[in-house]
Amino acid sequence: MNRYFVYLVFLNMLVNIVSYVPQILIGSRFQGAIWAILASVPIGMLLIYTCLKSMSRFPRQGLTDILDSILPRWIGRVLLLMSACQFFMAGCISLLSIADTSIRYISPETPLVMGIFMFLIVICMAAVHRTKQVLYLVEIILFIDVPLILFIIVKAFWNRSYDWDAVATVGMSYSALPTWTALSAATYIFSGYSDLVVVHKAFKQTPSPKSVWLFGALGLAILFASFSIPIAFQGADGVSDYIYPWIITADSMRVELGIVERVLPLFLLLYSGISLGSIIVRWHIASDLLKDCLPSSWSRKKPLTSWIFFAFFASVSLVLAFFFNENNILAVGRVWLNFRLPSEVLIVALILIAARRRRTS
């Protein structure tokens, strides 16, 4: 089952582009983005390592069982509720972002709410099922999409418009210390491990912490690509003119010898697949955590329960889509990223304490 953990982390790394990570990093490219990127790798690796090491003491248990072992029930429930909100918001922001971009650039005549509704049908249909089935789905989506995404990224580095000077110019401001927002955005790359809070229940064994080096290297590479490619294409100054720098960058590439000449549609279609996978995983986890918050008299097995949650998720997303424009969504994404890092550290610290207590007792 270890490979599924790799998939989850990798999925999260890929999806950073639709979660406003490049926008935020580029926004602070002269104010410490370099350090944020460099610092995020050890922080991310440390979090992954600690989480895996501590989780291995709780085979086949999720966050609920771990929290219950050290905290009073009601504090545990509050934390679970907080965690569920985090996961829901993560999915919701990705959803709004990808739906907004893909509808704007691919089918501008479709109303946004209808486009989101289309996404929601598939997401809810998939996320309502068992964890294992969600993992199989993620595996297939990754295997279809990743080769082509790698192709686009490699092509970008190969491209004549890729301007190393612009990257070097941004690199010159290495002395600035990172802002909290930049650091939160950069560490987001590594936060795929936090899916373990629910997915761990479906794993026979906890994934071995040795793989953390792989994640470190992979995360740094993807972070570098997602930060530097827009800068190299649009220039160190011009890149901040765009709300979606990656979309513009993808549109400035072309496949000279392909059937589809422009990279933009290919990029957006692939990314809608990847983000669907990621949203499905997040919402699946959110609904599972919410189910744990229910009073114990309520049967977990009832399919109606999950459907009520998903109806709630879907309606919140639709309401947000109706009232927000891309600037609001970006602001929400920023706030959410700022909150994500401390709450993640808190959860990992609690898991660590629980693991220690279990060892001594």
């Binding site: 089918s107 049908i121 249909m125 789905l137 059937i259 279609l269």
Partner: protein, 436 residues
């Protein structure tokens, strides 16, 4: 029973013994009865020795109740009554022409050539002689239909997953129908817990080698009396994408063919939808020359692309359906008239574009690449779903529908086994408990 003209009651007298024979003339072998039942009576010196002789012929317990005896007669056994004290039933069934014919539905290039026959006994013989392991277990049963259909369940009791076997048996027991079940496909439909599913969850095959291969992978096979097709369960998505030749040919060749099939599947599902999406919604995706040449060939076409696609696809489906049911001799005429003449004329008349003809041909041919019939039919239907969604939502809808299809396939369960997962335990012995 006596009203039936093929029911025979014969009275034989020898010395002072009277023997009655009851059988159905139509399904019993007259010569065999004469040789095995009548002649020995006249050669026997005493009634007891004939009785012992008859006893030696019986391979099943003698039934006593009249109802059971009647059932025996219907199944082709002769009832022997010696002086009203001794009753025995002896199998005397005349074998039908039951030699296996060549495989016609699933043709293999280098594999075994014969399919199953229509006779259950012959088929059991075929499987037994191919699967020479003592662990192969055969259970014969009757389906609760009217009239009852005989089936045989095969499995390797050392490899089979008991839960799967239990599930299949339960599904078979659940069947109670007032019409006769005569084909494997019909049985499959009755067995399946989801009555209206589009994707097959058991495989129907006419190839003994496929059945034996699947038995050795721990699956369960069901053969139905009167049809050369067997059911193999549980089947997952990958099983429907493999032909038996994949096992028989070289590694890289078979991999190549497998990839080819997936490409064919992808074309079949999405080609028509891509045409609609790219001409009506996003012509800018294509390179300019291609977009222009499509637009140029569509210039005389007076209606939107989806009507054009639907019209041509419908023509293609009609042709396929017509050529399946027609006798061979007329079939070729139909395809020539339909395919060649209609295609050319429709383009010249400006009803459809040239590129549309290419796409429809591609869709039709790529559909036939799928090796198993049921999957072929499912995908034939599926592509209209895609077409409908693309017509309404454009290319974005197509991508989401494609992911929706994957979602649907991954969430499908088949006797506790995931229908679609990336590295399925295909080709390996199915583990007792699903790993991981």
């Amino acid at each position: 029973m006596a009203e039936s003209s093929d029911f025979v009651i014969r009275q034989l007298d020898h010395h002072d013994t009277t023997v009655h024979l009851f059988y159905l003339k139509s399904i019993c072998d007259d010569l065999k009865i004469q040789r095995d039942l009548v002649l020995p009576l006249y050669q026997a010196d005493r009634a007891e020795s004939y009785e012992n002789y008859v006893r030696s012929l019986i391979n099943q317990k003698t039934s006593s109740s009249p109802g059971q005896l009647l059932e025996r007669v219907i199944k082709g056994e002769a009832i022997v009554c010696i002086e009203d004290t001794f009753i025995a039933n002896v199998p005397m069934k005349k074998p039908l022409n039951s030699s296996p014919g060549p495989a016609e539905v699933e043709v293999s290039v280098v594999g075994p050539k014969h399919a199953f026959s229509e006779e259950l006994d012959t088929n059991m013989n075929v499987i037994r002689s191919r699967y020479t392991e003592s662990s192969l277990t055969v259970e014969r049963a009757n389906l609760e239909s009217h009239p009852k259909t005989e089936i045989a369940i095969f499995y390797d009791r050392e490899l089979v997953d008991p839960e799967v076997l239990e599930g299949i048996k339960k599904d078979l027991k659940r069947i109670s129908d007032h019409i006769v079940i005569q084909a494997a496909g019909q049985l499959q439909r009755k067995m399946s817990p989801a009555r209206r599913t589009l994707f097959p969850t058991v495989m129907i095959t006419e190839r003994p080698d496929r059945v034996v291969l699947n038995l050795s992978q721990g699956k369960v096979a069901i053969l139905v009396q009167g049809t050369p097709f067997g059911i193999v369960a549980p089947a997952v998505f990958y099983d429907f994408m493999t032909a038996m030749d994949d096992v028989y040919s070289h590694y890289w060749t078979s991999r190549f063919l497998l990839v080819l099939r997936y490409i064919g599947l992808f074309f079949n599902l999405t080609m028509a939808s891509f045409y609609v999406g790219l001409t009506s919604y996003n012509p800018e995706f294509l390179r300019v020359q291609l977009a222009l040449s499509i637009a140029g060939s569509r210039a005389p076409v007076p209606y939107p692309s989806f009507i054009e696609v639907l019209f041509m696809l419908l023509m293609m489906e009609l042709l396929t359906e017509a050529s399946i049911r027609l006798p061979r001799t007329i079939g070729s005429t139909a395809t020539t008239v339909g395919g060649l003449i209609l295609g050319t004329a429709a383009t010249q008349a400006g009803l459809v574009s040239n590129i549309m003809i290419i796409i429809v041909a591609c869709v039709a041919i790529s559909n036939f690449v799928l090796p198993i019939n049921e999957m072929m039919f499912s995908m034939r239907v599926m592509k209209y779903v895609f077409l409908g969604i693309t017509t309404i939502f454009g290319i974005m809808g197509l991508v989401i529908a494609f992911i929706g299809l994957i979602v649907h396939l991954t969430r499908k369960q088949n006797y506790g086994r995931a229908y679609l997962r990336f590295f399925a335990e295909n080709g390996k012995v199915v583990p007792r408990k699903e790993a991981g």
